[in-house]
């Protein structure tokens, strides 16, 4: 299908984009557009105005700042995929990147757009949660930072206000004892996950500590499973699988029962990844 008619404005600054959002309550921001334009084409959304933020300078950087990897909202997936900073200091993002869409999608899609859209079956929101990262936002009343744990609030619903723009994401830089794990099941490589799991932990002698497991594709938001994290910290993989308290819904790809089973399969794979990594 074709999109319903809308107006288009290319914003030259964050202030301009924020002002346009204020003047046009039915406007949407256009970043990479790899989810938004698909929903426009299917007329799942019909905004009156698209505010293209791709021309705003200075939002596409990737760098190490004060012990954290900071990724500008407009950095494209392909840039993160090739970034030495990301592969060295945010290895979970590097591991997840090839699972995101396909090459042509990654050439356009942005990390900020993915986090702002907050698709519950997408990889990056779960990675942000697993890494205990944070989001920088700017709105009419200035800038603020939101922790990942407070950011994802519901289905496609985030802590961002109607006039706020996500400007960067920040992830704690990996330490020498940082362990990461990532696994996903999809019918075709690059498709949305049936179930996926992003994880981080720290090595502690032969065991693990600070285990964070964030599932995607099983709930309305990326979801941590704290009981399983505790079991894994004790080295109890069977216990971690038994403690999974997920309540997924049937969807177009799989029944809830299949998803729950697959979540356990992925947990074992990710646990093995976390435990095998030696500095």
């Amino acid at each position: 299908m074709k999109p319903a008619p809308f107006a288009y404005r290319k914003a030259r600054s964050l202030d301009e984009a924020i002002a346009l959002l204020g003047e046009n309550p039915d406007a949407r921001l256009l970043a990479g557009g790899q989810s938004l334009i698909a929903t426009l084409n299917m007329r799942l959304s019909a905004p009156g105005l698209l505010i293209d933020i791709n021309g705003i300078g200075g939002l596409d950087g990737i760098g190490l700042k004060g012990g954290a990897v900071e990724i500008g909202a407009l950095a494209r997936h392909c840039a993160a995929e090739r970034s030495d900073t990301v592969s060295k200091h945010a290895p979970l993002i590097a591991r997840a990147m090839p699972f995101i869409g396909h090459a042509a999608i990654r050439n356009r899609g942005t990390l900020g757009g993915s986090i702002a859209f907050a698709d519950p079956a997408a990889e990056l929101p779960a990675c942000l949660l697993a890494l205990d990262g944070e989001v920088d936002a700017q709105g009419p009343s200035g800038k603020r930072t939101i922790k990942a744990g407070d950011y994802f609030q519901g289905l496609y619903e985030t802590a961002l206000g109607p006039q706020e723009i996500l400007t960067a994401i920040r992830l704690p830089a990996a330490a020498a004892d940082t362990r990461i794990g990532f696994a996903e099941l999809a019918r075709r490589h690059g498709d949305y996950a049936i179930v996926g799991l992003a994880a981080s932990a720290r090595g502690d002698g032969k065991g693990l500590k600070d285990v964070r497991l964030a599932y995607f594709g099983v709930a309305n938001t990326p979801l941590r499973v704290t009981k399983s994290e505790a079991a894994l910290t004790r080295g109890d993989i069977d216990g971690a699988v038994a403690a999974l308290d997920l309540d997924p819904h049937d969807d177009i790809q799989a029944t809830a029962k299949v998803k729950k089973h697959l979540a356990g399969v992925l947990l074992r794979r990710v646990a093995a990844q976390l435990m095998e990594q030696r500095p």
Binding site: M1, K2, P3, A4, P5, F6, A7, Y8, R9, K10, L30, G33, Q34, I37, A38, L40, N41, M42, L49, L50, D52, N54, C78, P98, G101, H102, A103, A104, I105, N107, R108, R188, H189, G190, D191
Partner: protein, 165 residues
């Protein structure tokens, strides 16, 4: 606010200035306004890859970009890649190995494959069959079962690597 946008861009080496509806996707623009119908419209939501084309040197989904976004951009469609001879060896290999039947996916498939072969050339490598499958994973083909396509791309990758050394 206007629903129409004036854009100037370069398409297959030619400078084009047009007024377009803001809602018009890039693939509809090249097909309807420029009569470049080699880029195909399949799913219109980024899944099938039939509309794959190049914008500023990298492949994109023509259905997931707006023409309005391409003001100032350099766009290359299969017509451009074909006329310049850039993908002539790929096209010949597709024909020789029956890597197409209906041909609907072929322009997108060639454009995607060419990007992989360029990237492989930059790092002086021949992509594995697995890498080829991964790179064209975003391009549906409902006729061939993909084996012949992977064969064709692999043979060109090897031939280009051989020709270079």
């Amino acid at each position: 606010m206007s629903m129409d946008i004036d854009i100037t861009l370069t398409v297959n080496g030619e400078r084009v200035t047009k007024r377009v509806e803001a809602r018009k996707t890039l693939v509809d623009f090249v097909r309807d306004d420029l009569a470049l119908t080699g880029s195909h419209v399949g799913c219109e939501h980024g899944v099938c890859g039939a509309c794959t084309m190049r914008v500023d040197g990298v492949i994109v989904r023509g259905c997931l970009m707006l023409a309005a976004q391409c003001d100032g951009a350099t766009v290359e469609t299969i017509e451009g890649l074909s006329d310049s001879g850039e993908v002539a060896d790929l096209q010949a290999a597709f024909e020789q190995r029956n890597a197409l039947q209906c041909g609907y996916c072929t322009p997108g498939m060639l454009t995607a494959a060419q990007e992989l072969l360029q990237q492989a050339k930059e790092r002086n490598a021949v992509p594995s069959r697995e890498e080829i499958r991964e790179h064209i994973s975003g391009n549906y083909c409902r006729c061939t079962g993909y084996h012949a396509i992977v064969d064709a791309v692999e043979s060109v990758a090897k031939a280009r690597a051989g020709a270079k050394s």
